[in-house]
């Protein structure tokens, strides 16, 4: 465990140093992403301004809360585990060989070896929203952090599972993209706008509802059981995703590509 933590932090430090090496690109992508997210808040501001009150049971502040959790949760996932979405490419091109030869945990090494520059913008954006709209409301911050952890874990696990299908089906990048888009889109809108079957998926196959909408409900009214269930489901999904990855890895056939990692 200690060894894994060391590898994790080493990857984080190296990725961060590498991001800072190209500062202009780093800052423009991070700023661009924060700006991009702001345009959606503008949409909500206009929409709530038009009708006032609530939309599908959510107030403007509620929408900002789910936006903050989704943005920062997505940011933390792609900042620390950006390679989950690259797994299909690694499998198909045979670049996974490089990771198999290293004397450390394969999954950890694969997931952590890349970062996304725009992820910093996503991560910071959630915090900016919280500071502006929730200020020093400690309870809101507590559930915000809980949401980030849950969303980050689930997002990584879902993307990893979808791309691990490439071990069995060939190029599964389309499934990975679809899963990611679904995950994001059901997280940033009030859940009641969706039909029951979509909500059923949100709490079963891709249980992102427990990462975004459950923390919002628990912030309004705390209950111990849903809290425990949310964390247990996220943990279980991660274990299942890792198991699925290793099952798939048994079917992996090495390529003959010569790859250098610098």
């Amino acid at each position: 465990m200690k060894k894994h933590s060391k590898i994790f932090w080493s990857y984080f430090r190296l990725n961060f140093a590498s991001a800072l090496e190209y500062r202009a690109s780093f800052f423009s992508q991070a700023f661009g992403m924060a700006l991009s997210n702001s345009s959606f808040i503008f949409f909500w501001w206009i929409a709530f301004g038009q009708i006032g009150g609530k939309i599908a049971g959510y107030s403007f502040e509620d929408v900002l809360f789910i936006w903050a959790v989704t943005s920062s949760g997505y940011g933390i996932s792609t900042l620390l585990f950006a390679n989950a979405s690259e797994l299909t490419r690694l499998i198909i091109t045979g670049e996974l060989d490089t990771f198999l030869l290293q004397p450390c945990n394969v999954l950890l090494s694969v997931l952590c070896s890349r970062t996304s520059l725009s992820a910093y913008g996503d991560l910071i954006y959630g915090f900016i929203l919280m500071v502006i709209f929730y200020g020093s409301n400690r309870l809101a911050w507590l559930w915000f952090f809980a949401g980030i952890v849950l969303f980050g874990l689930l997002m990584t696990a879902v993307v990893l599972t979808a791309h691990s299908l490439s071990f069995f089906l060939g190029d599964a990048s389309v499934i990975g993209t679809l899963a990611t888009e679904f995950l994001i889109n059901v997280s940033i809108y009030p859940e009641k706008i969706y039909a029951p079957f979509i909500r059923a998926i949100m709490y079963s196959v891709i249980p992102v509802g427990i990462a975004v909408h459950t923390p919002l409900r628990l912030f309004a009214e705390f209950s111990l059981l849903p809290t425990l269930i949310a964390f247990m489901v996220a943990g279980l999904y991660c274990v299942l995703a890792a198991t699925f990855f290793y099952r798939g890895l048994r079917r992996y056939e090495s390529g003959n590509a010569i790859v250098t990692r610098l």
């Binding site: 202009a24 700023f31 929409a47 038009q50 599908a56 679809l178 889109n185």
Partner: protein
């Protein structure tokens, strides 16, 4: 003149053949298009439980979004990233040697994909609209020619603005922020919301900027057609397009002087 036009028509035909061969990503975009419309339809249904907003009924609003997303999905161009890659890698040198103007070569080249998308997404858009909310009663066949003209102007306006942004890579290496600003300006000023929904102070600004004329103009003509409105919006689109073409050609002329290509 005809010979020149023929040359660019051939380029478009080749690009259409390419687009037809590599169409798997188009299917994925069909799915996303449907999904986004579903998401927004669900959202606006919730919003419209409060009544009509700024004279737009629920059905009009959904068709409005179908049209703006159609312009975005079907008529979008990747010319911005193409320009960036070609300038940074130096591969632009290959195009400069061709017997065609670089800007118009890229326009003709991107039209193949646009034509294919327009047919595919156009059909899908009609099906989605009818399945999700039924017919749009405010639309009449008399509005079809102005609508086609407005969509064409939107495609060209979007292309030339993106080309202009791409040309900035001659001067600024990392111009991604410009692209995002443009993208979000079009999102906010017409794509997600009609301009009429904006606060009055912002409406005045939006109506005088080219960004609104990419999505709002064709969608407004589509859902709320009248002769006067169509003439006004199409004239403004044409004016914006003229300005964008002039700025692009001038920038290209200046940028090409700065180009340094090293052999290798």
């Amino acid at each position: 003149m005809m010979k020149k036009l023929h040359k660019y028509t051939v380029i478009t035909k080749v690009s259409l053949a390419n687009a037809l061969t590599y169409r798997s990503t188009t299917y994925l975009r069909f799915f996303f298009y449907t999904f986004f419309i579903y998401v927004f339809m669900s959202l606006w249904r919730a919003i419209y439980q409060q009544g009509s907003v700024h004279g737009y009924g629920y059905v009009q609003m959904v068709w409005y979004l179908i049209m703006t997303e159609f312009v975005s999905f079907a008529c979008g161009s990747d010319i911005y990233s193409t320009m960036n890659d070609e300038v940074k890698s130096g591969s632009i040198a290959y195009h400069l040697g061709r017997p065609s103007h670089y800007v118009f070569y890229q326009l003709a080249n991107s039209m193949g994909q646009v034509l294919l998308n327009m047919m595919g997404f156009g059909t899908l858009a009609i099906v989605i609209g009818f399945v999700f909310v039924g017919p749009l009663f405010t639309f009449t066949m008399a509005g079809l020619p102005p609508l086609i003209l407005s969509v064409t102007l939107s495609i060209l306006l979007n292309f030339f603005i993106l080309m202009l942004l791409g040309l900035s890579s001659f001067v600024i290496e990392d111009n991604y922020a410009f692209y995002l600003i443009y993208q979000k300006a079009t999102f906010m000023l017409g794509m997600f919301l009609p301009v009429e929904f904006l606060p009055s102070w912002l409406q005045k600004i939006a109506r005088n900027l080219p960004f609104s004329y990419v999505h709002w103009a064709p969608a407004k003509i589509f859902v709320d057609y009248s002769n006067g409105l169509a003439i006004e919006l199409i004239s403004r689109q044409a004016l914006c397009l003229l300005a964008a073409i002039t700025a692009t050609l001038l920038s290209y002329h200046l940028a090409i002087r700065r180009l340094q290509v090293n052999g290798g």
